[in-house]
C-alpha cells in the first residue's frame, strides 16, 4: 500500500503547509497554536507509519523518491531513509511536536513563532532525508533562518549578539561544505561520465579519488559539520545561542540542530571519503576527547543552569564523535544511538531550565534551592533528566555511552581512560547542580511565594520524553535494530570491522 505514497515528501510538506496556513491566517493565538500542533502531529504519526513499515533486514535506503529538479546540472529532488536517518526523522517529528506543545504559553507574536517552528521542522526533516547534495544544502541552510528569528525575537537580553553570531558562525561552516560539495561534484563528473549531485552516485566513485583530495575534502567537511555539532574549538556560538534562545528554541537547537552536524559526518563525510576519514581518524579522536573533557569541566564552573546544560551538550556530542572516530560498526551505531539519546535527554533538560526560569524568574543556581518542596513534579522530571544525562543504567544515555566506550576500547584500547574520566565529572556537576537548585532548604534569595508546579502543557511533553528515555534504556534494541545494518554498511566502506 505504501509503495505509491510519497511518505517522506508528505512528512516534509505537511509542516510547510501548516506554516503557510499560519502565516496567511493566524489572527487568533489559540487557533494558531492548535494549527501548529496539528501540523506537527501529522508528521509524527507518519513517522510511526514509517518506522512500522521499514524493513529491518536491509541497511540501504528505503522509501526512495526521485524527481528531476535541475537536470542541466544533475540535480534531483531525491529522498530516502536508512536505519540511521529514520531514527533522526522520528526524533525530529517528536521533538518538534513536543516543543510546540511546550510553547503553549507563548503570547508574544504567536503567529510568527509557530510558523517559524514549523519551517524549522521542514528544514531539519529535509536534511535527514535528502539524498542529493544540492537539496541537502538547501535544507541545511533553510534551518538557519527560523532559528535566527527564534533567537532574535523571543530570546533573552543578549539576543542581538547571540542570534547574529549563531547565524554567521554556522553559515561560514555551511559555505565550507558548499565548496567541498562542488569539488566532489566536479571530481566525480569525469569518472561517472555524467553530472550528478546524488550522494549515492558520488559515493560510488569518490572512494577512488586521490588521497590529497580526500584528506582536504574530508577536513573541510569535518570543519563544516563540526561547527554544527559543535566540536572544541568551534563551539563558542553554542553557549551564547542557547542561553539567549527561548526554551523551545533551545530544545530544537540541542535536540536536532546539533544532530545535523554528526549526521552529516556519518552520512556524507565517512562513506564518501573513506581514505580521508581513515587518515584523519586520530584528529577526530583527539578532538572528541578534548570536547568531552572540556565540555564537562566547563560545566562545573557554570552558575547558569541553562549554560551548564549547553556545555554538557558539547561534552555529549563529543561522545558521538568518539563513536564515529572508531569507524567500526558498533562505534558508528553507538554514536547514532547517542545522538538519539541525547536528543531525548537534552530536550528534558532544556525544558526543565525553561520551567525553572518561568516559575522562579531566574536560572542562577546560587539563587535557587529547595524548590522540590514547591514543585515536586518538576523536580521528579529534572531528576530523571539529570540522571539519564549522567548515564544512569536503565536509561537511554547509559546504553549509548556504554556502547561508545566499548567500541572505543576495541579500537584504541587504553586511550579510553581519558574520555571515560568525564563520566565522573558529569555525575559530579549534574548531582551538584540538582542538590543546590532543587534540594536543601528553600531559598530565601528570591520570592518563592508564587512558585507553583508545572502546567499541563509542560508536564505532558516531559512525561512523554521521560517514558521514552526509560523505554529505550530498557529495550535499546528498539533503536539498535534499525541502526546496525546501516552502520555496518558505512564501516564496511571504511574497511574497519
Amino acid at each position: 500500500m505504501l509503495e505509491n505514497v510519497p511518505i517522506l515528501s508528505l512528512i516534509i510538506l505537511i509542516p510547510l503547509i501548516g506554516a503557510a496556513i499560519i502565516f496567511l491566517t493566524g489572527k487568533n493565538a489559540k487557533a494558531t497554536k492548535v494549527t501548529a500542533l496539528t501540523f506537527s502531529a501529522i508528521p509524527l504519526v507518519l513517522s510511526f507509519v514509517l518506522l512500522a513499515s521499514f524493513s529491518l533486514d536491509i541497511g540501504t535506503y528505503q522509501f526512495r523518491e526521485r524527481y528531476e529538479w535541475i537536470p542541466g546540472l544533475g540535480i534531483s529532488y531525491s529522498l530516502g531513509v536508512d536505519g540511521i536517518s529514520i531514527l533522526m526523522v522520528f526524533l525530529t517529528t517528536l521533538l518538534c511536536f513536543l516543543a510546540i506543545l511546550f510553547s503553549w504559553d507563548v503570547e508574544h507574536r504567536t503567529k510568527e513563532y509557530m510558523g517559524l517552528m514549523l519551517i524549522l521542522d521542514v528544514g531539519v526533516l529535509g536534511v535527514f532525508t535528502s539524498l542529493d547534495y544540492f537539496l541537502f544544502y538547501v535544507f541545511w541552510e533553510v534551518v538557519l533562518i527560523p532559528m535566527y528569528f527564534l533567537i532574535a525575537i523571543w530570546g533573552g537580553p543578549r539576543r542581538d549578539y547571540a542570534s547574529i553570531k549563531f547565524f554567521i558562525y554556522t553559515h561560514v561552516a555551511s559555505l565550507a561544505m558548499l565548496i567541498t560539495i562542488m569539488a566532489l561534484y566536479f571530481e566525480a563528473k569525469p569518472v561517472l561520465g555524467y553530472a550528478s549531485f546524488s550522494m549515492i552516485d558520488i559515493a560510488s566513485v569518490s572512494g577512488g579519488f586521490g588521497q590529497v583530495f580526500q584528506v582536504a575534502a574530508f577536513g573541510s567537511l569535518f570543519f563544516a559539520f563540526g561547527v554544527k555539532m559543535p566540536i572544541v574549538p568551534f563551539h563558542t556560538w553554542l553557549p551564547d545561542a542557547h542561553v539567549e534562545a527561548p526554551t523551545a528554541g533551545s530544545v530544537l537547537l540541542a535536540g536536532l540542530l546539533l544532530k545535523m552536524g554528526s549526521y552529516g559526518i556519518i552520512r556524507v563525510a565517512l562513506p564518501t571519503l573513506p581514505d580521508g576519514a581513515s587518515m584523519l581518524m586520530p584528529l577526530m579522536l583527539a578532538i572528541a576527547i578534548i570536547s568531552i573533557l572540556y565540555g564537562a569541566i566547563v560545566c562545573l564552573a557554570q552558575k547558569d543552569l541553562k549554560k551548564m546544560v549547553a556545555f554538557s551538550s558539547i561534552s555529549h556530542m563529543g561522545i558521538v564523535l568518539l563513536g564515529i572516530s572508531t569507524g567500526s560498526e558498533l562505534g558508528i551505531a553507538a554514536a547514532v544511538f547517542q545522538m538519539f539519546a541525547h536528543g531525548l535527554i537534552t530536550a528534558v533538560l532544556f525544558m526543565m531550565c525553561g520551567v525553572v526560569q518561568h516559575k522562579t524568574g531566574t536560572r542562577e543556581i546560587p539563587l535557587l534551592g529547595g524548590l522540590a518542596s514547591k514543585m515536586p513534579i518538576a523536580t521528579t522530571f529534572m531528576t530523571i533528566g539529570f540522571l539519564a544525562s549522567l548515564g544512569l543504567p536503565g536509561m537511554v544515555g547509559f546504553i549509548a555511552e556504554f556502547s561508545v566506550f566499548i567500541a572505543t576500547f576495541d579500537a584504541y584500547t587504553w586511550i579510553l581512560l581519558l574520555p571515560i574520566a568525564s563520566v565522573a565529572i558529569t555525575a559530579g556537576y549534574f548531582l551538584w547542580a540538582l542538590q543546590r537548585s532543587m534540594f536543601g532548604p528553600l531559598t530565601e534569595k528570591i520570592d518563592t511565594s508564587h512558585i507553583h508546579d508545572v502546567n499541563w502543557y509542560e508536564s505532558v511533553p516531559l512525561a512523554i520524553l521521560a517514558l521514552l528515555i526509560i523505554l529505550f534504556g530498557m529495550l535499546p534494541s528498539l533503536g539498535f535494530d534499525f541502526i546496525r545494518p546501516s552502520a555496518g554498511i558505512i564501516s564496511g566502506v571504511l574497511g574497519v570491522i
Binding site: G72, V138, V142, L144, I145, Y148, F149, L178, I179, E187
Partner: protein, 482 residues
C-alpha cells in the same frame, strides 16, 4: 525589411521612445504615457521571447555589426524586464513632476542603448550603444533639477562617465590601430596571431580595464557609484543597478572573452585580483553604511566583484553562471531599490533606522525586502543562491585543471564574502522584524507594489525552479563563444 530582423526589438523601443513626447503633447495624460511605454516594452519583449524559444537561431544585421542570438536576446530580455518594472514603479514615484515625457523617453532610450550593446559584434556599435545608454542615464539621474543631491549626483556621474568613455575609446582606438579591425572576432584572431606581447596591446588592455571598470564600478574605480546611487531618484537607481551596470559587463565579456581571449594570461591574474578586491571592499564598506541606498550601492559593488570572476575563469560554464547571476541580481537589487522608492512615497526615509518595525507597518514590503536581502546574501532556496552556486562552482570546476588550481580561491573568496555580506543584510532584516518602530499601517501605491512583486516572485520562483533559466544561460553562453 528582411535584413532588419536582428534589430526589431531595438527598433520598437526607439519608435516608442520617439513617439512618447508627441503622445504626451497631445494627450497630457501621465497614464497614457506609462501605458504606451509598457506596451512598447512588452511588444519588444514579445519579439525577444519568441526569438528565445526559437532555439539556435541567430539573425545578423546587414554588414555584420549586430547579431541577435541566444546571448544577446537573453540580455535584451533582462534589460526589458528591468525597464518594465521601473516604469511601472515610476507611475506613482514621478507623478506630478515636470518633464514626465522626457523621463519615459530617456528610460526607453537607455534600454535601447543597452540592447544594442548586448547584440553588438563590433567595437564601434558597442560604443554607440554604450553612449546612448550612458547619456540617457546621466539625464535621468539629474531628472529632479531642483534636488541638490540629484544635481550633484548627475554632475558627478556625467564627468566620471565621460572620462571613462574617453579612456575606453582610447583603448578601442589602440586596438583598432594594432589589428586594423573593429570586429571582435577579427580582433580575437589577429591578437592571437601576434608573436609576443606588444606593449601597445598592454596599454590598450589597461585602458580598457580602467574605462569599463568605471562603468561597472569595480575597485578602484568604484567611488562614484554610492554617491550617484544615493543622489539619483530611486527608481533611476534601480535602473542603474539592475541594468545599466550589467551592460558594462556585456561589454567586458565581449571585449575580453572574444577580442582578447588569446592574451588571456596577461590579464587573467590582474582581473582575478580586482574581482576579489571588489568583493572585499564592497562588502566591508557596506557594513558601516547607515543609508540604505548607499548600503545597497556598496553591495552592488561587491556583486560586481562576483560577476567579474567570469573573466579570469573564462569557461562557457562560468559565463553561464555570470549571466545567471546578472539575471538574478537584476531582480534582487532592482527590487530592493524599488522597495526603497515605494516606502519613500509614504515618508519612510532612507536611513536604516527608518526601517525599524517595518513588519508592522507594511508586512508585504517587510517580507519582500527580507526575501530580496536573503537572496542577495545567497541563502537557499532563493534565486541568489542558485546563481551564486553556478558561478562559484564554475571556479571550482576550472580549478580541477592543475595549472588553474589557484582559481579555487576565487570560489573561496566568493563564499567568504557572501558570509560577510550576510552581516549587513541580516541587520536590516533585524530592524524590520525584531526592532520596534511606528506601528500605523501604511497604504502603498498599487503600481509600485506590483513592480516589487514582479521582482520578489521572480526571486522565489527562480530559486525553487532554476532549471529553465540555467538552460537559457547555458544556451546563451554557447552562442557567445563562436
Amino acid at each position: 525589411m528582411a535584413g532588419l530582423s536582428a534589430i526589431y526589438p531595438e527598433l520598437v523601443m526607439i519608435v516608442v521612445a520617439i513617439a512618447i513626447p508627441a503622445i504626451y503633447y497631445t494627450t497630457r495624460s501621465h497614464k497614457i504615457l506609462s501605458t504606451v511605454s509598457l506596451v512598447g516594452i512588452a511588444a519588444s519583449m514579445g519579439i525577444v521571447v519568441q526569438f528565445l524559444f526559437d532555439g539556435a537561431r541567430a539573425d545578423t544585421l546587414e554588414g555584420g555589426l549586430l547579431r541577435l542570438d541566444a546571448f544577446s536576446a537573453l540580455f535584451q530580455l533582462i534589460f526589458l524586464i528591468v525597464a518594465f518594472y521601473v516604469i511601472l514603479a515610476s507611475y506613482k514615484y514621478v507623478q506630478g513632476e515636470r518633464h514626465i515625457a522626457e523621463y519615459h523617453t530617456l528610460i526607453l532610450m537607455a534600454t535601447a542603448g543597452m540592447m544594442i550593446v548586448a547584440s553588438s559584434l563590433d567595437l564601434i556599435t558597442l560604443f554607440v550603444g554604450l553612449e546612448l545608454a550612458s547619456l540617457s542615464s546621466y539625464a535621468l539621474v539629474g531628472f529632479r533639477k531642483k534636488d541638490k543631491k540629484g544635481a550633484e549626483a548627475a554632475t558627478k556621474y556625467f564627468i566620471i562617465g565621460a572620462i571613462s568613455s574617453a579612456i575606453s575609446l582610447y583603448g578601442i582606438s589602440l586596438l583598432y590601430g594594432l589589428t586594423g579591425s573593429t570586429m571582435f572576432t577579427d580582433i580575437g584572431a589577429l591578437v592571437g596571431g601576434m608573436a609576443g606581447m606588444d606593449p601597445v596591446l598592454l596599454l590598450a588592455l589597461v585602458l580598457l580595464i580602467a574605462g569599463f571598470g568605471f562603468k561597472v564600478a569595480i575597485v578602484p574605480f568604484h567611488m562614484w557609484a554610492p554617491d550617484v546611487y544615493e543622489g539619483a531618484p530611486t527608481t533611476v537607481t534601480s535602473l542603474l543597478a539592475a541594468s545599466s551596470k550589467k551592460m558594462g559587463f556585456v561589454a567586458l565579456f565581449k571585449i575580453f572573452l572574444i577580442g582578447l581571449i588569446a592574451v588571456r594570461v596577461e590579464w587573467q591574474l590582474v582581473v582575478a585580483v580586482i574581482s576579489v578586491a571588489t568583493m572585499v571592499v564592497g562588502n566591508l564598506i557596506a557594513i558601516s553604511q547607515t543609508n540604505i541606498k548607499r548600503m545597497l550601492a556598496y553591495s552592488s559593488i561587491a556583486q560586481a566583484g562576483y560577476i567579474l570572476m567570469v573573466l579570469p575563469i573564462g569557461t562557457e560554464y562560468a559565463l553561464a553562471g555570470g549571466i545567471f547571476h546578472i539575471i538574478t541580481h537584476a531582480f534582487m537589487k532592482g527590487g530592493a531599490f524599488i522597495i526603497v522608492a515605494t516606502l519613500s512615497t509614504v515618508a519612510i526615509g532612507e536611513t536604516l533606522s527608518d526601517y525599524k518595525g517595518l513588519a508592522k507597518r507594511s508586512p508585504l514590503m517587510a517580507f519582500s525586502m527580507t526575501v530580496l536581502l536573503f537572496s542577495l546574501a545567497g541563502i537557499p532556496p532563493l534565486a541568489g543562491f542558485a546563481s551564486k552556486f553556478v558561478l562559484f562552482s564554475s571556479a571550482v570546476d576550472a580549478s580541477i585543471v592543475p595549472a588553474d588550481n589557484w582559481m579555487i580561491w576565487l570560489a573561496v573568496a566568493g563564499v567568504l564574502n557572501s558570509a560577510l555580506s550576510l552581516f549587513y543584510y541580516v541587520r536590516v532584516i533585524k530592524y524590520i522584524y525584531v526592532d520596534k518602530g511606528p506601528i500605523e499601517r501604511t497604504r502603498l501605491p498599487n503600481t509600485m507594489v506590483a513592480a516589487v512583486l514582479i521582482t520578489v516572485i521572480a526571486t522565489i520562483v527562480i530559486g525553487l525552479y532554476p532549471a529553465p533559466v540555467i538552460d537559457a544561460c547555458n544556451a546563451a553562453a554557447r552562442a557567445f563563444f563562436p
